[in-house]
Symmetry: C3
Subunit: 333 residues, 3 copies
């Protein structure tokens, strides 16, 4: 039995296989690959695209989605082991995962970081707890990485660019009024490097570097593909020659838990917005973002509404790639 927790657990060939399967589902959406199967979707955080696209995809494959929202429509859950549960949580992940595994054939889990201590968040306890105790496959619906988004981004880039090897992929940090999850940023460098792209991480300063776990993995993937991972704080050189500009905001890891101190730093970098001037530096580059996106904060209307924008296609492709993932986990390759 195999989970889908991060693309780091999957070879490039396996990822390419998932993308081909996704393309088949995009051409022929209705297939009874999950007939009489139940997929439990556990959301510790809100969702529009993930919930809808999984629900629709499951249905198109003949399956049945059950959406659970612990702490809202279900009990709060304990993830630490061996402790006396005399606090808020009424139930332990051991029971939750084991019982859900009796009701469902696949479990999806969304659990955002708490943003207080990155050392805690990077352990990804909720997802790892489900993966450890569930007796059915577990899918990451976004925790500290977002592998389903990775596949959607990859499929969309392939649709527009064909072969990705050697193409320049720029992940640019952008301003956002609040500190956000690094998950999609981590994921973007992981997938672009895995698929042979030349990857540039553009951010305001060293404080906005991503966790070394992901930078290392991306660096290794890039090198394995004869490419490189670059990090720069210079907007102009980053955009120059780019084939894809991927925008995302995230909070600076050293400031986890003391965001009031990061705010003035972040506020100095509103000019990282993706606009027409910057895009003009690229090699006719494409633009994308995982959504939700704040218009005219992260990207101007002119860019997101241009033909170079892939945001709606990428969102649609969530549907197709997720069907591929569920199919493989439930039925094998």
């Amino acid at each position: 039995m195999r989970h889908f927790l991060t693309t780091m657990d999957y070879t490039r060939a396996e990822i390419e296989g998932l993308l081909e399967r996704a393309q088949r589902f995009k051409r022929r959406p209705i297939e009874p690959r999950l007939k009489d199967r139940t997929i439990a979707l556990v959301f510790f955080n809100p969702s529009l695209r993930t919930r809808t696209s999984f629900d629709v995809g499951i249905r198109e494959l003949g399956g049945h989605a059950v959406v659970l929202e612990p702490g809202r429509s279900a009990w709060p859950i304990e993830f630490e082991e061996g402790i006396a549960m005399d606090g808020e949580p009424e139930e332990h992940i051991q029971e939750v995962a084991r019982v859900l595994s009796r009701y469902a054939d696949l479990i999806g889990v969304r659990a955002f970081p708490k943003f207080q201590r990155w050392e805690d968040d990077r352990q990804d306890k909720v997802l790892q707890g489900f993966a450890r105790y569930a007796t059915v496959p577990v899918v990451n619906l976004e925790t500290i990485t977002h592998p389903c988004q990775e596949l959607a981004l990859a499929l969309t880039m392939k649709e527009r660019l064909g072969r990705l090897d050697g193409k320049k992929f720029v992940l640019t940090w952008t301003y956002h009024p609040r500190p956000l999850n690094t998950a999609v940023a981590n994921s973007a460098v992981l997938i672009a490097s895995k698929l042979g792209m030349d990857v540039t991480l553009l951010c305001p300063s060293e404080e906005y570097h991503l966790d070394e776990r992901y930078l290392d993995a991306a660096r290794k993937s890039a090198e394995g593909n004869g490419q490189k991972l670059s990090i720069t704080y210079d907007i102009k050189s980053a955009y120059e020659g780019a084939h894809v500009v991927y925008a995302k905001s995230w909070g600076a890891i050293p400031y986890f838990g003391r965001w009031e101190q990061e705010k003035p730093i972040r506020d100095r970098h509103k000019h990282f917005i993706v606009d027409e001037q910057k895009m003009a530096l690229t090699a006719g580059g494409l633009f994308s973002h995982c959504l939700p996106v704040r218009r005219n904060v992260k990207v101007t209307d002119a860019v997101i509404d241009s033909p170079a924008s892939m945001v709606i296609d990428e969102a649609e492709n969530r549907l197709h790639v997720q069907k591929a993932v569920m199919d493989v986990l439930a039925n094998g390759w």
Copy 2:
């Protein structure tokens, strides 16, 4: 592609066509008219009947409902255009509507007015935003009108009365401890006048008149059918000879945003409750209300529990008329 935003966009013949289709679905509920189709139901406000009846109807037609509740289980949404999104909303209606259109074949939207400025509310920005950017048909699940309720009312009246032309329809304002939406009231005069009824709007004073947009439309429909729209503050003459008494409470438009000033006015009119004495003035008149209804505040137990009460039938008919609307939007006439 056509939306179902208001019955004002539909001819009388089209409305009659929808009602006939609804009657067919009532006789034979299971038909695969929405097979493999997904319908997204977006609720900005809570719902019992609408949600359940759409869900059941979609299922009976072989389709799949996805229920979304933005701001609760999804992100808050921006509806203004061209602005820098540095406030609460994380996502713009442009992306929401476009992405949902990739996942779903039909989008239903419920969005109540904010009750602060009628000039804002009457623009119906949420529904209009979806209608503008969605690339699939949009259905109004109640905003500032409630066209699905209109069809349910119309079908129920036809079941009881046969031909509606020339029958006297009275919409009576009733007391309610809070100011409520005018949507069902607007809708009641629209549909009764469109179907050839003689329409009387009974309310406490000029302050409780409905928006001229709807009164005008109703007046024109009535005249086109050789009938009239009357407005009166006199309970006795309104009830006399009525074939249908439809009860609804709503807040006075001139007091939007300063409800504490309207409250003493409203409180003087508790005697607008529908009771047996008033119903005795009618021509053996029927009673209905869209639900939810406060018993013994808007209508006495004796009236709502009498054989003249159509409330449960009207609620059931929501199911059938909505199936007709979805069928026509998805498959054409």
Copy 3:
């Protein structure tokens, strides 16, 4: 038409029949017994197992579940009759139950006690209101008893022990930081006595006795089966010779509404936790709990993780027994 509100309304033979049907569904999960049928699940309180297991079970029987959460995603509801509804509730149970009966073929209701006055709670007004006004069968999803849990417990004990007659069943109160519902405790003594077991209720003091309504019914069942119902405050004698130890915490009925006074009493009884020392006194006894369970507060890790623990099986069996209940209510025996 018959409801499933409490097992007190069902004979032992009927209960045994439901359990046999559940075993059949466990062996062969997919059967179209609810094809084209809609089941409305009304949750006034949160749920993980109940919601998921009903949803999955309905789907496996070919039916369609609609989940409603009044007061959160629907209107608050009035349950008193004949009153002027000028408070919070926007709708009366009469309309809710009648309308839902038009949309659904079966209605499930979860409504926990309010824990202020047991004299009020024991009237079970919400469930009784639905049962009175619905025109389709109503299923208790846990109110002041939990009959679905009873059937799951019974099926699990039969799987492990075969014939239950004469086996010693111990319901032990355990500590929990908050006062909890007596529903599962009431249910445990009802079903164990109905199925011929020798039942012992172990609790700290007279204040923790269950309502006489349930003790009486259990006593009569036990006597009818040639067994007895014992109540004891002595841990050692209770555990001795037990075949099943069932743990549950509940609030003391005399302290309803003044829980701050009960807290110091409850806090003195943390030693009621189920642990290996106590289990060693039993006749190789099995352990179970309805879930959610607080580990190392109600039961030690060692016991709940031992082969004697039936908690996950009991949770799974919810699925199978509930399918049996729905099948019988919808299609008859």
